[in-house]
Amino acid sequence: MNLSISIWIPLIPFIVFLVNGLAGHKYKPVYAGILGTVGLFISFLLSLAVGYQYFFIEGMKDGVYQQIIAYSTTWLHLTDKLVVSIGSLIDPISVMMIIVVTTVSLMVHLYSIGYMKGEKGFTRFYAFLGLFTFSMLGLVLATNIFQMYIFWELVGISSYLLIGFYYERPSAVAASKKAFIVTRFADLGFLVGILMISYLTGSFDFNQIIPQLTDPNSVAFQSGSKVLFFGMSTLTWSVIFVFMGGAGKSAMFPLHIWLPDAMEGPTPVSALIHAATMVVAGVYLVARLFPIYALSAPTGLEVVAYVGGFTSLFAAVIACTQFDIKRILAFSTLSQIGYMMLALGVSGYGGEEGLGFTASMFHLFTHAMFKALLFLGAGAIIHAVHSNYMNDMGSLRKFLPITHITFAIAVLTISGIPPFAGFFSKDEILVAAYQHNKLLFVVEYLVAGITAFYMSRLYFSVFWGKNQQYHHKPHEAPFTMTIPLMFLALASVTVGFIHFSKFVSSDLIPYESEFHWNIAIPSILIALAGISIAAMMYMKETTIPDRMAKSLKGFYTAAYNKFYIDEAYLFVTKKIIFNLISRPVAWFDRHIVDGTVNLVGNTTARAAEMIKGFQSGQIQKYGFVFVSGVLLLAFIFIYWWSK
């Protein structure tokens, strides 16, 4: 089999998007769902085949995984130097990503047949899902940074379309706008970074950029590291700008504000886009350019580490105080992506040193599985209860057995309890942090405990807790929804046993990662502590949560209101930017620019008004003027001649 077949993996969802989008009104909505699912299933099989072919047959050469450009075509030939091509780059992380994306997307496609049944716009939903899957796969397979940018924006627009899926709800419209504007703002940084990098290297291709910018003898490296601005070189600035784009898409502090609001979209969308795939694009971007960060711009890598570490702590604290189950999951996503960023940030380059890189990709992989499972489980709960709020739930274990068990597995996985997948990936991250940065290591231990606490809080409040009186008996979801749940639960249990360091490493050379019990055991203990505290507080209906909230009043209120970051943004935009910049600019535009144009127009109109009486259309008046003129001329000539 030829690896160039990988180009069909994104193209099939694109074809599904075109068919569903253009011809969707011609057939019954359910066929749109079936078409999307079947198309994605083919993509899924193809990506498994590509993964097998790459990892076990073709990819390895002399003990090093090769970066293979499986397909490439010139897309824009602007000048001889400026050529943008589109293709598919096959290397360990891109293969891992296509497997993650197609798996989760397939599960979401299947799940949505049940979840979205009877919704208005079912076909549109599937068309957008296809568009998203296409863009995400194009992003991970990108051979050059410009292709990545194009697909980066495409996932942005499909995220916008899907958050605003219920466009009749003003809150959904506001959320989709917010997501789009915030990520666009971050993408500005990404674009600046791309331009700086391609200015230095004269190329967009990853296999041109990375060697040039990591070789200390190359022209690009030397010109990039000379110029200093605020104490950092051009190269460092460029990767920090690129990271800004990644931070926007991955919702890192302080650009995280759009993600909790993005939960306005349908739940399967939250599972696919805002938990498992799109939001990890930022991590993927940093991982893609990782050699540059690690070898040429260690300061940039430190920024990544601290932003990730802070976000993980910050979001975990907020998650403890929320009541909307999807928002809790959103903040937990923020926290887990913070983990991945941090793992990249504390990683070195090559061999054992690159453990953080492996751990980050490993956590990305396991997180995609268990977070998709959590969201889909939350969707099943919402489907049964018709509410997002934990206060409306309780004792659901009696009504939703399958959802209950799968959700419990997911909670144990994210809490890092062995033998579930999250334990292994989190352990690797902790080891990497321990080796490189003790401060962040302590923070991550703390976050592991908080994570276990808030996830168990969610679990106990929903499935145990008080005996809620329901208007109608909650019913278990249909099989199209439970099959993905079971599949993902199985994946959450098993994927942890993959020896990731055999496949993914920072320098493409497989190595053997050791297991550190001295770090794993305390992390299990702190997770168990978090779970047991939550069990004490929420398993039975108690007054402990209220009393705790009262005793921590100021802090609790601040966390409940997400530390007023949204308000801060509103203050900055509405009060400062609008008043100091936008209003004066608007005044200038309205009064000076428009005023000049209007003045010219009005003057012309007034002058015309004054003289239009001369053109009366009456021949006799013209004749009178004409004759008067002739007489006048006659008198003048006679007067002259007579001289």
């Binding site: 259309g617 009456q618 021949i619 006799q620 004759v627």
Partner: protein, 105 residues
């Protein structure tokens, strides 16, 4: 040759006629009257042609020919103008030039 009448007399007559025509053309609002004024102007020019031909170049005939042409053209013009005037009358029930202003700005 008209004996004993100096050329100036003819010219005075034709000038008076011409300016009566100009005056009528500019002042009257009735289309028929305007047409008549135009005929007056044409005829004053005819008189000039004939008189100049007769007094200045008695052995040539260009002035006479011009006069005949003008008479013929004036006849055609009168026919066209009266046809227009009839149409105007049918449409507006009026032949006052100031009322015929539908195409004005």
């Amino acid at each position: 040759m008209i004996q004993g009448i100096p050329i100036v007399h003819f010219l005075i007559v034709s000038t008076i006629m011409f300016f009566i025509g100009v005056y009528g053309f500019l002042v009257r609002r009735n289309l028929i009257t305007i047409l008549m004024s135009i005929e007056l102007m044409l005829n004053s020019v005819n008189i000039n042609f004939v008189v100049f031909n007769k007094y200045l170049f008695p052995d040539q005939l260009q002035g006479h020919f011009f006069t005949l042409f003008i008479i013929a053209v004036a006849a055609a013009e009168a026919a066209v103008a009266i046809a227009i005037i009839i149409n105007v009358y049918r449409r507006f029930n009026n032949i006052n030039v100031e009322d015929v202003s539908d195409m004005k700005y």
